[in-house]
Amino acid sequence: MEFKDYYTTLDIDRSATQNEIKRAYRKLARKFHPDVNKDADAEQRFKEIGEAYEVLQDAEKRKAYDKFGKDWEAGQEFKPPPDWDKDFAFHGGGYTENNAADFSDFFESLFGARKNGAGADSYTGYGQNYRGSGQDLHAKVVISLEDSYAGTKQSITLQRQSMNEAGQLITQPHTLQITLPKGVTEGQQIRLAGQGAEGIGEGSSGDLFLEIAFRKHPHFTPSKRDILLTLPISPWEAALGGTVPVPTLGGKVKLSIPAGSQTGRKLRLKGRGLATAANKGDQYVTLAIMVPVAQTDAEKELFRNMEKSMPFNPRSNLGV
């Protein structure tokens, strides 16, 4: 197991006061909260910050942790010495907070494992357990736009805590095969009833909520069920109009460009976005005129001819 430097995690000195620790924690918690920060590693950072704060905000735990102090560096192989915690009040384990489901092995080896049976795989800080029923779990599932367009089967693996026959709390990977229907959108929630944390005693299991996130697509930008695409066209296609091929999630289609189009013109391909049985998105194509580089003398001559025979001031609205 790796040693964790909680001071580095909170970006504070070892001499920081309790107030400084609190301030550092709150600032970082706001910055990395997974609802606010969409970076892939935000959830992990948020958990680490919470774990560091859990130890450092508690004077006893901090004192115990500080015993390891300067001799250790983050990432170093770590094994706590036997009975290292015997002089401290929390001997025997037990968290003070109820959102400690995600703390690291390092934390558990020092401060003991969680006592109650409901665990969450994610950043839920709220542990309302009604009638001893298991907590709801929240997780993200990242799919491609093509997956949403066509519908997809995904397999997801969660770390779930449960009681074994001996009544011990164990963490096990748990793999679910799920079938996502067509047309799911970014941020959409999917509930898997009964797939959350196991209940305590007679309590029923919680639910698992999955939130859909899209992998970045090289060309398409999703906007709810609509798909946005920037489409390069030639100056003559823009000037004269014409029919050009356009990629869509469902394959190539033809789009007719009206004569006299400019960069930024938006055209709609109806029904070519993400679709469910009831809702159909469209694809919006924004035109971008690309000018070919004139290389040969003949090519340059073509542009000179245009210059001579087509009076055109693109800056007229700037008054010059």
Partner: protein, 109 residues
């Protein structure tokens, strides 16, 4: 490792409507909490009386984010409403930004 196949999924779609009672049991919150979110403008159900309230399923996400922001970051209700609105604006801006970046990326050719 346990393996299960073909789990029943419920996709919370904008066409699905939930009553106040259904919403509370799905999100495991009290009706008063939902009423507070309505009063703050975070939720806008159809109907004027609690018994008539109809929520779209996409509002479940707003409720869940509200719960997390309040408990993880100690944000009060007006702050939560502001954060949700700003988060939506950020999403919209990110989309526009990505579109513009793609337009400028074309100019390299």
């Amino acid at each position: 490792m346990t393996m299960k196949t073909d789990i029943q999924c419920t996709v919370f779609d904008e066409n699905d409507e939930y009553s106040l009672k259904e919403l509370c049991s799905t999100c495991r919150v009290h009706t008063q909490f939902i009423q507070d979110l309505i009063d703050e403008g975070i939720l806008s159900p159809r109907g004027t009386q609690p018994q008539e309230y109809r929520f779209t399923a996409v509002e479940i996400r707003r409720i869940q984010i509200s719960i997390r922001l309040q408990s993880d970051l100690r944000i009060n209700l007006p702050g939560t409403a502001l954060a949700l609105d700003l988060l939506e604006q950020i999403e919209e801006l990110k989309r526009s930004k990505q579109q513009l970046e793609r337009l400028y990326a074309l100019k390299k050719y």
